[in-house]
């Protein structure tokens, strides 16, 4: 926050200041052992997710009905499932699904929520009031229930779109095996969370000296919002973003578990858990493998989020 007060100071001084700040933040992050472990694990998951098509030993939907439920072996490191599909390959594609839903939803909710939150917090008034009422009402309904309703709607509605302006959405959803619908359902509600938090941050800043100063110098509202307010709320937004991703991943796996998410044969960790439940007594590994990997990914994201919070915003109370 002090930086913006220094905005008028020469650029070189600012650059070195920024670098020092970055190094301090990095040092603080590294102090968190769990955050570092989480970051490493996450990097691995992201790598696997990105390279899944070339890394996987088999295609995720390749069935071998002569080798169903085979135990882990040299050919199938994590064994095969009820249709003889390679579990390792499916787990790797599951990472791809989880990560894409997490990141795409995040981008979408930030793109909607940040401008909404900043304008509501900065101008206040009727728009702010309406936004907060909307947040109140949406919070009265359990998040997942609303997502399930939206997703039920999308999965039934999108395939019926055969013409008109939404036909590309239908195609996109079919080509992504339902991921597009999930991302839409999640972001349609998720942006409110972002807007609420961003609004709170802006409210706390808008009467600060540097904002008043910029205004008295004749800066336009849009300029103040973009050049002065946004940089100062960047740190809490980054922290919030890392802590939002796990929610989206939980919701995607949950929807897929219920059969409302990713369309087969594309595997999601949630689908894999649901498929394995019926045979849990004979083949618990089919359930426990996706469950543990999902848990480890979510834990890593939370550790990284906590580490980032301490690194970027040391004053923030835990």
């Amino acid at each position: 926050m002090r930086d913006s007060a220094l905005a008028g100071v020469g650029a070189p001084a600012r650059a070195s200041h920024e670098r020092r700040r970055y190094h301090r933040a990095l040092a603080r992050f590294k102090r968190h052992k769990m955050a570092v472990v989480g970051a490493v694990f996450l990097a691995l998951v992201i790598l696997v997710a990105a390279a899944a098509p070339t890394l996987t030993p088999y295609r995720f939907d390749r069935q071998d009905l002569l080798a169903t439920y085979s135990p882990p072996s040299a050919r199938h490191w994590a064994g095969t499932d009820s249709l003889g599909r390679d579990v390792l390959s499916r787990l790797m594609y599951g990472a791809r699904v989880s990560m894409s839903v997490g990141v795409m939803t995040l981008l979408l909710v930030l793109a909607i929520g940040v401008p909404m939150g900043v304008t509501a917090g900065y101008f206040g008034g009727t728009f702010d009031l309406l936004l907060m009422r909307l947040v109140d009402v949406i919070y009265a309904i359990p998040y997942l229930l609303l997502v399930v309703l939206l997703q039920t709607f999308f999965t039934a509605f999108l395939p019926t779109v055969r013409a008109g302006p939404l036909v590309w959405l239908h195609a996109l959803n079919r080509n992504t095996n339902g991921i597009a619908a999930i991302v839409m359902a999640l972001s349609l509600i998720g942006w409110l969370d972002v807007a609420r938090i961003v609004r709170g941050q802006v409210l706390a800043l808008r009467h600060r000296e540097f904002v008043q100063g910029a205004r008295s110098l004749g800066a336009a509202d849009a300029h103040i919002m973009v050049a002065h307010l946004l940089p100062n709320i960047a740190a809490p937004i980054i922290v919030m973003a890392t802590l939002l991703i796990p929610n989206f991943i939980i919701a995607e796996a949950g929807l897929s578990f219920l059969g409302l998410g990713v369309q087969p044969p594309l595997p999601s960790w949630g689908t894999m858990i649901a498929e394995g439940i019926d045979s849990i007594e004979s083949y618990p590994r089919l359930v426990i493998a996706p469950a543990l990997i999902l848990a480890a990914t979510l834990l890593s994201l939370n550790f990284v989020g906590d580490g980032l919070r301490d690194a970027l915003d040391p004053v923030m109370e835990r």
């Binding site: 109140d136 009402v137 919070y139 009265a140 309904i141 359990p142 998040y143 997942l144 229930l145 399930v148 309703l149 939206l150 039920t152 709607f153 039934a156 509605f157 019926t160 796990p246 939980i250 796996a253 949950g254 578990f257 219920l258 059969g259 409302l260 949630g270 858990i273 439940i277 849990i280 007594e281 618990p284 359930v287 426990i288 469950a291 543990l292 999902l294 848990a295 979510l298 834990l299 994201l301 939370n302 550790f303 906590d306 109370e317 835990r318």
Partner: protein, 308 residues
């Protein structure tokens, strides 16, 4: 207090109305129903009869008011799948199981969450605190369906200590796994908020006064600090209840508990839209009622709330 109660109830009406409208529009915008079977299409005349039976040919506003009128008179309309029965009867059948499980899970959350949060705050920045924070992060990270899967696999499949699923009432051991799976996350949420709230209270003057008077440490924590720290915690009850409700969808399905959560899941996959609408309304009303109760207890505990 009477005026406050009235104001609070009046505020709840538009909220419930909006919940109803949103759920109604979403459900009615969703095309088709369980009879849309690509392999065995029904005769057009049959479908037409179904549409007449469920008033689907009426204008939307008429359906909206008709349903509202029925709902206010205790009838939530016939189910699409279980055609002979009214949705309210189905709820009456399955809901009691979920209430029992939900109550036990909530009890678990309180019994585990309060000591966990208290220990973390009292032993701040010691290994006890770090261990408690570790449990809290685990609880926040791991969704209930993963928790349920891990519990069933370890306790039932590998160790054979418990059955893998089923239901036998509150006193049956089969309730243990779903209770922990549903209640773990609310427990850690509670612990996290309580830790912060208690740390704040422990820094207050009256705690120092109590200590100066020579009161025993345990007595200060329980009689003075905890009591005050729990008041702001009441506001998160709504979150906890929402968590228990959505938890029941997954956990009841995994552990084969014949509750309303599991029925809800069957209704989504079976495209039983009247059931979806009714349950969305039911869950919304529960949470709104819960929030009102919280506000009222808040107002009773802290007179300042009533006058603001």
């Amino acid at each position: 207090m009477g005026a406050y109660l009235l104001r609070r109830l009046l505020l709840a009406i538009p909220t419930i109305a909006i919940v109803y409208t949103v759920a109604f529009l979403l459900v009615h915008a969703t095309p088709g129903g369980p009879w849309d079977n690509a392999e065995k299409p029904l005769a057009p005349q049959v479908i037409e009869n179904i549409r007449i039976k469920y008033h689907l040919n009426d204008p939307l506003w008429k359906q909206y008011l008709l349903y509202l009128n029925d709902a206010l008179h205790g009838s939530l309309g016939p189910s699409y799948v279980n055609t002979a029965r009214d949705v309210s009867e189905i709820i009456a059948d399955f809901f009691p199981v979920s209430i029992q499980l939900g109550a036990v899970a909530m009890l678990f959350a309180v019994v585990v969450g309060i000591p966990l949060g208290t220990l973390a705050a009292v032993y701040r920045n010691t290994p006890v605190d770090y261990a408690a924070i570790g449990v809290v992060v685990t609880g926040i990270s791991i969704p209930n369906y993963v928790m349920a899967t891990i519990l069933v696999t370890t306790l039932a499949v590998w160790l054979h200590w418990l059955p893998t699923g089923g239901w036998g009432g509150v006193w049956d051991i089969r309730i243990l796994i779903p209770t922990v799976a549903i209640g773990f996350r609310p427990a850690t949420t509670l612990a996290r908020y309580l830790r912060t709230s208690l740390l704040e209270v422990l820094g207050q003057d009256y705690i120092r006064t109590a200590r100066a008077k020579g009161l025993a440490g345990r007595k200060i924590i329980v009689r003075h600090a905890l009591r005050n720290a729990l008041v702001p915690i009441a506001t998160i009850s709504g979150i906890l209840v929402a968590d228990v409700i959505t938890g029941s969808f997954f956990v009841e399905t995994i552990t084969r508990v014949p509750g309303i959560g599991r029925y809800f899941v069957t209704a989504t996959t079976g495209r039983d839209y009247p059931v979806l609408l009714a349950l969305a309304l039911l869950f919304g009303v529960i949470i709104i009622t819960m929030n009102i109760l919280v506000d009222l207890s808040y107002a009773a505990l802290d007179p300042q709330v009533r006058y603001s």
